[in-house]
Amino acid sequence: MAQLNLQHLDKIYDNNVQAVYDFNLDVADGELIVLVGPSGCGKSTTLRMVAGLEDISAGHLLLDGRDITRAPAKDRDMAMVFQNYALYGHMTIYENMAFSLTLRHEDKNVIHKKVLAAAEILGLTEQLNKKPSQLSGGQRQRVAMGRSIVRNPKVFLFDEPLSNLDAKLRGATRREILLLHKRLGATMLYVTHDQTEALTLADRIVCMSMGHVQQIGTPLELYDRPDNIFVASFIGLPPMNMFDVLFVDGKLRGKGFEVALSDEQKHTLRHHYGLELVLGVRPEDISLGDDISMLVSTNENLGMNTLVHGQMGTSGERVTAKLRGWCSFTGGDLARVKITKMHFFDKDTTRAIRQEDR
């Protein structure tokens, strides 16, 4: 497998639209990196630049130390799995999986061994004589993966491979991809706009917005220590609650509520005394307590948890709380809650304010 280095990559289209700005990433051997972000953030463009399907406007791309910035796609030793599977409808699954090797005029017996091995890994042995139209979406996506596996590429590239699948199948196929990664120990770049996929699959996540990298880190780092308001709002479901607050008298004062801070939190915010900042609270960091009133508007029971939507105080900002267990609030109820964990962001720069900023 392989190490991949993306150094200061830019993508500027002919009409002068810049899709990717100064993208830097070092992918270790066997690492699974997920590029995540909303539509149009440049994640697929970045992947296509790595694959060689888009020209790199500036910067360098290195594979195992070899500069492949200008190398054609066929010479990059990478395999890409597309969202729409890209299978040949008139060929059987066996022929589809063998196709790329047949084009390279590999020995037929060698191709056969590779196809059977890949089919075994993906549980497709019984389907080899079928046509793609006879398979389910998940199976077709596995065939697309199998076609990549037989090539034994240095890097696997996935461009939203699960987007065409229904929710149940998506979960199952996601687990299969994870198992596949563990089994092959392959270097993988995976693009998705689904943060659940990103959090469950990735060794590291690259969160992008408007062509810029917002944060690179492990799923836990992005969830627990987001660098800015964008990452904080994008990662996590339901998204983090954001409140405009004023830091005065050792408290955070927002519209319709006040939160007392610990000494440590006061110390963290000591340079922001008297200033407006943004308080971020994850729905799961709100629990039943006695600190703040919350005017309930709707109550969604999910079984193990309950999503309670409402307002801080009686006329404050919108808030969503994810409470453990089964709750039975009705619209107009006044719930008493407490905040167990807070994230602070500079209102002007949108960057996180943390302990180390002291």
Partner: protein
Amino acid sequence: MNEERSIEVDRMRFTKNTQSSRMAILAIVFNVLYFISIYKSDVGNYYYTALIGISIVYNLVFMLLTFLCSEGVKNYKRGFSWAMIALGIMQIVRIFIIPAKMHGTVIEKGAQTVLHILNYHIPATMDVAVMGLGQFILVVVLLILSALCLFRGAAVNFKKSRALADHIANLNMQL
């Protein structure tokens, strides 16, 4: 059976018998070439007989059956090999019907024949061979090639389908 051969046979579980299938298609091609090679334009209404009518219908039937055989042998179905052999024998038999009958037959063409010599148009009477030696050899070769393709395709399919059947039986026993 060595490993390479074993993989080769195992491969047949997922690949078509294109060799036999292509042989059948080639037989059709040779048959078409035969069919368009038997006619000559200067023998008047010589061909307007029931025999030619039957021959045309048989050509259509032959092409249909051979195409079906090509699809059958593609999937290693042994029965289609027998059909291909039968069709091949028929191609050989056909040599002794139209080509043999027409080779050596001479018809007399009357005044409607015109010789063009130095801008003079001279009405003439002459004998015309329905199928000369060159044409006869050509159509016979085409029919033989068509038959050989069918025999070869059938033989390959016999061999492959037997090997595949044995292999699958082995696999089933191992299971």
